[in-house]
Amino acid sequence: MTEQLEHKQDHHHTINEDYNQYHKASIVRLNSHDKRRLVFALPMLVVGSIALLFSYIYSSLILTFIGLGLVFWGSVLYYITSSRYYPDELFRVAVEAYSKGIINTLSTLGYTIGSRDARVMLFYPRQLRLGGLTQGYLFIYKDGVEPEGKMIKLTQYLERLDEDGKGNSIDIDIPARGTAAPITSIPADKQQGMIIKAPSQGLIDLFESRLDTNFALMSIDELSMSIERLFMEEFMLADSVDIKKDEEDDNTIRVTVKGRDTAKICSNMHDISIALCPICSTIALAISKSTGKAVMVKESSIGKRRVDTVYSLLEIV
């Protein structure tokens, strides 16, 4: 018994030693990104320091400037190069996985939002209790119901929602396992659609905080410039973004996003759902906030380095 205990203690001690050795090593171990930064910066710093040392010994002005230059530019190079980034595949896979989860949940409730997505509207409610302009929503028409005209009747649905977005318009009784209980018939006036909080609202909040502004206070042209700046400089997602009203129809907005990475994200997501595409749905929500109308994706085309989307604006009644 004592021998067994001693053997166990020795085993634990060995494990702890290995752990400590690994942990100590990991403190000084550099990851590949840090190594890449040092490959450029370290030789400059070392050579610069040596030059400064010799300049001090020999009082040489040329060596001083060489040393100062190398040390300064080596430090700057190390400081400005970023060693932390995530592969874009991680972002794309995460977004696709969560979107498929949402779609699966909705299809269980009898709502299908597919790649066509002509039956999904993005909007901001006027009711302050629902968040007003701080929370965007998706309205999804039920299967078999098609939107008509340039207006969308949301009042009856919004009145039934509480502050948490609960109390939605559809009641469905899911029968217990093993029983043959019939599904409760849904009243006709509840069969139009349902409202859920827009998943891309988080991106809108992030964009507005980075710009330190509110999209509701912007015109379409200002929105175009702001989002282009965000996508190009802040998040490095695209080469250019252009949002403009259609020349012939004020209720149509044409958006062109150029960039290989954006096209890749959108092409994967549009096969799943345009309304859940982080790029397209965020732009749609921003347009909705700016114009005060509901936005629906009319058509979308994706090239290798370009995404063209046409949005329709609808009055909310």
Partner: protein
Amino acid sequence: MYAFAFNLWDIGLWLAVSSIILLITSELLAPYYGRMKMLIDVKRLRIVAIGSGLTFLVIAAIRISTIIG
């Protein structure tokens, strides 16, 4: 005798040239993204550029004050 063969004004002039190069680079830097192995943080580059420019201005102010004084 060991000594560095420069004075404060030499450092100031050198900083002036460096800050001009850094400021121009930070403004002209193209937003390449994702494909390069070394990502450059433009904000940090701007901070360094403005910092070195301000340091030069401080050195210039010191020199002006010594001339006037």
